[in-house]
Symmetry: C2
Amino acid sequence: MARPKKVRHGDAVLTHEHIVATALRLADADGIRQLSMRRLATELDCGVMSLYHYVVDKEALIEALVDQVAREVVPPPKGVAWREAVRHIAEATLAAQLRHPWAIPVWSTSWPGPYRFALVEQLLDTLAHAGLPPDVADLGFHALTNHVQGFAQQRISFGQLESRAEVTRDRLEAMIAQGKFPRVAEHVEFHRSERSAQDEFGFTLDLILDGLEKFADGEKRPSVLRAGREDGDSRDSNA
Amino acid sequence: MARPKKVRHGDAVLTHEHIVATALRLADADGIRQLSMRRLATELDCGVMSLYHYVVDKEALIEALVDQVAREVVPPPKGVAWREAVRHIAEATLAAQLRHPWAIPVWSTSWPGPYRFALVEQLLDTLAHAGLPPDVADLGFHALTNHVQGFAQQRISFGQLESRAEVTRDRLEAMIAQGKFPRVAEHVEFHRSERSAQDEFGFTLDLILDGLEKFADGEKRPSVLRAGREDGDSRDSNA
DNA sequence: AACATTTTCGTGCGTTGTACGATTATTCAT
DNA sequence: ATGAATAATCGTACAACGCACGAAAATGTT
């Protein structure tokens, strides 16, 4: 009978929000690889299995974490032009991802939660009001999100390559020192230089937006795409 | 003294190539999540720790696996125009990734091996001969690779969403059924329709290439980028 | 007071990567 | 041929993981 008397160890009440918030803190601090259910339970001062009353499994937990990051993306002000709205969404999403680098690799992999759904809806809706043919809007959506996602990924990869992690850096230096990859060497040099501190993100963003805008209001027709869905923008948000 | 006599169980000789080839087969068959050192050793009919004589750790193994995928990308024929060369590289890379879907999430995450380095070099070199300002080439490189990577990612995500995995599909249906995301519903419908069977990949690829081409041979200057690196294409492959 | 429901969590199972050191096979100098 | 050095193989063991199961406690209801 030498059982511990109290069953609830922690002082605070255990809730979904509290669990997710704590997990988010741990992920921000030590990365997502260091986040285990055991560590999370220890941090929350509760038993491991208690967590499973609020979260079906670890995957669902991570989904919730990513969704919290998506939640940080503040929507653009109402009434701005579509290009500005898109730019706002893209930049805000990038910023949120860079604030939580661990989320970047899982962003596209994990199932989207409600906040990420809302974010997608927002971007799609913005593009739908841009006067683009529906097909172009659908494809443009992916072009834009791919840019954001890829840029974030590249940033952290190069970032952790440059800062610490001598092993990684030495490996790059060794590869370049072979002399077999002069263009890669130049490219790395470009990223190290101040030139690349310019608005790289905006450059490619504008490139995509310019490309899309050409299709606005019948100015140009998508050549590689078959005709279809000519209804235009008939359906509104509450139709 | 009841020790097993033979130490080498398998018949074939254990080499790095053999290990990587077998691991690749297992990954293709059951996905990378099912690939464990133990399973690999079992398949090779050797002890688990024997693997570590040829591979420093599992991460290095996976790097080698991804590099094998990069190896499958055949270079474009010599002498073709730069746009065709870029298109070739992009399409071949996409095809290789889709042949090994498990590699897609790890492609950007894992350290690049020699074959992926060569692939990067190839694309950079192609862009360097396109008459683009160096900065534009460097940024265009990322725009292109992000498109390939993102497209591949989206393809497998949507693919495994549509085929089996009823759970996942039901979750999407439930989200849409809420009626809060009409644009997402349309977008999913677009991807399900025949329209999206068109050359979506090429459309966005052309969009990027068109955008880049405007900067060729001084036709246009990058506006958001500060001047710099005006040397143009002075350095050749063997300078 | 008695019961039902929700919340908590200890125990244990199966699996993972890999550190350590022993064993065996191979090569080479003598 | 013989011994020593080197390379290759692998059994054992450890710490960590996600989580299934079912018991215990807390809380709510009547």
